[in-house]
């Protein structure tokens, strides 16, 4: 593992001392390079397509799985299919993410398709970070797909972050929820330069007492553009709340397209969206605390994306 690899892994998965706690699988330039399994968590290479299956035994408590992907080869188009099978009443943290280092002129791309199958009563905290770096003109492209299937009593909390260096991304997240389930998504995106980010959420509330809360906070600066599409369908007694907040700067553009569909009289669905520049009064308050205008702006953005 060289310095570039270590830095990418640190950025996306907070790797310390070149290793991870718990089970892990590191993928570099389209191939698995390191793997560790535990008594409760097994990782198996798929035979039909590129990717892995992750099996978490029932009643596994408080274990961590890291499955980072790094790309340092310019011009590579890596597609990976990872499936997570979470046993009954298990409670685990899964840390994924992709970092691309591109110093050359060819585009580098990673499309990660992640499917989660949560059995009854299981809980997952899923953390996903996307990051790009390098001096080349080749684009850094990331298109993650996340599909979540929750069985009775299961919950999945997803934190998705893309703060730096990704030129183009289409992020699709889909949730299919049975009874007494909860799917919480928090997304943070910052774009700059000519970057382009598109987010598509689709959640089906199929079981009684299923609920979802989607919070998207984004900052579009310079000439970057973002689009946020969300669709929550309440097919029974259920609750859905989608909140999209965006700060625009310079020539940044943001489009928010909400869609909430109630197919049952007991479905309770809310969509909130707000787009605007940083409020002058916020800058002024922080300047009265001794911050310059630039520092104040940064503090507001850091807080917003925290």
């Amino acid at each position: 593992m060289d310095k570039i690899d270590a830095n990418l892994l640190h950025e996306i998965a907070d790797m310390q001392n070149e290793t991870f706690e718990g089970a892990y699988n590191i993928r570099k330039n389209g191939k698995g390079i390191e793997r560790k399994v535990t008594d409760n968590i097994n990782i198996v290479t798929k035979k039909d397509v590129s990717g892995i299956d992750i099996y978490v035994k029932e009643n596994t408590k408080f274990e961590i799985v890291h499955i980072p992907v790094i790309i340092t080869e310019s011009g590579l188009n890596d597609v990976v299919y990872n499936d997570f099978y979470i046993g009954k009443n298990a409670n685990v943290v899964i840390i994924a993410g992709c970092g691309i280092h591109n110093d050359h002129h060819k585009d580098s791309q990673h499309d990660g398709i992640h499917r989660f199958f949560l059995e009854e009563g299981s809980k997952v905290k899923y953390i996903e970070k996307h990051y790009g770096e390098g001096k080349g003109t080749g684009k850094r492209i990331l298109n993650p797909v996340t599909e979540v299937h929750l069985k009775n009593g299961a919950t999945l909390e997803m934190d998705s972050t893309q703060i730096k260096g990704v030129d183009s991304t289409v992020r699709e997240t889909k949730g299919i929820l049975e009874e007494n389930t909860n799917f919480v998504v928090t997304e943070k995106i910052m774009t700059h330069g000519m970057q382009n980010a598109k987010t598509i959420f689709e959640v089906e509330l199929n079981g009684k007492n299923s609920s979802t809360k989607v919070t998207s906070r984004s900052v579009a600066t310079e000439n970057s553009t973002q689009q946020f599409e969300s669709k929550v369908v309440g097919n029974t007694e259920s609750f859905g709340h989608v909140e999209c907040d965006a700060i625009i700067k310079d020539n940044g553009k943001v489009v928010a397209i909400p869609e909430i569909i109630a197919n049952d009289v007991n479905a309770n669905l809310i969509h909130e969206a707000a787009i605007g520049k940083i409020a002058g009064e916020q800058l002024m308050k922080l300047m009265t605390l001794g911050l310059s205008e630039k520092e104040a702006e940064q503090a507001i953005i850091d807080g917003f994306l925290k």
Partner: protein, 239 residues
């Protein structure tokens, strides 16, 4: 310590401030009062640099600060509590206190400051400074952000504005204890008798001018006779 020299400010053909001259001495607790529209808020905003005067000068400890930016004035030792506290998304009370303080503060120190302004610290320190807080809570946090700065000059722009009577009843005690919380000179815009009562000096403004300035003993009677002062904060009888 603060000299305001011949400040004029006109907007929409209305003279908001008309040749205002005022000297504030070190370590005094000064209350500016006067009817709505008399120019009080504009004057303190000009002192902080939020509003630029058309003419005139402001000197802080002899240094001309008229053309300095807000942040530079802050660094020279002026703190300002807004009439309408500003709300943020994602920034917690602790974050804001860290940004406010000149030196690094840990959570315990932040909690101490919150306790001084009457907030149960543990409940508030990690909360976001957003619309989920009530007007009274936001006011107290606003006071905490200026109190933590230990500035030479601390300005409060009508702290009683925008909160209900019951919240103010409990907030007023903080201003009575202000001398223990805020060091240096305090300049506060208020109509409340209980705040006027704790002043060293009172400045009475009317129609963009300083109508009177003097010791509380001299001016309190004159101010209270006018209908601008409000007893809602509690009179001597019930205080």
């Amino acid at each position: 310590m603060l000299e305001i020299k011949d400040i004029c400010f006109t907007r929409d053909n209305k003279k908001i401030l008309d040749h205002v001259n005022l000297n504030i001495d070190t370590d005094k607790f000064v209350v500016i009062t006067g009817p709505n529209g008399s120019g009080k808020s504009t004057l303190v905003k000009i002192i902080m640099g939020i509003t630029k005067p058309d003419t005139g000068k402001i000197l802080l400890e002899g240094k001309d600060i008229t053309n300095l930016s807000i942040d530079k004035r802050s660094k020279l030792g002026i703190a300002f509590a807004f009439q309408q506290p500003v709300k943020f998304k994602g920034i917690t009370v602790y974050d804001l206190l860290k940004l406010s303080s000149e030196k690094e503060i840990n959570k315990n120190e932040a909690c101490n400051i919150l306790s001084k302004v009457g907030l149960c610290a543990k409940e508030y320190v990690d909360r976001e400074v957003n619309g989920s807080l009530s007007g009274g809570e936001l006011k107290r946090i606003e006071i905490a952000t200026v109190a933590v700065r230990n500035s030479k000059l601390t300005i409060f722009d009508e702290p009683e504005a925008g909160i209900d009577l019951w919240s103010f009843q409990s907030l007023i005690k903080i201003f009575e204890d202000m001398r223990k919380i805020v060091k240096g000179t305090t300049l506060i815009i208020s109509h409340q008798e209980r705040i006027l009562n704790i002043a060293d000096e009172i400045v009475l403004m009317k129609d963009g001018k300083i109508e009177a300035k003097g010791d509380k003993e001299k001016l309190l009677g004159q101010v209270l006779e006018k209908p601008i002062c409000c007893k809602l904060g509690g009179s001597k009888d019930n205080g």
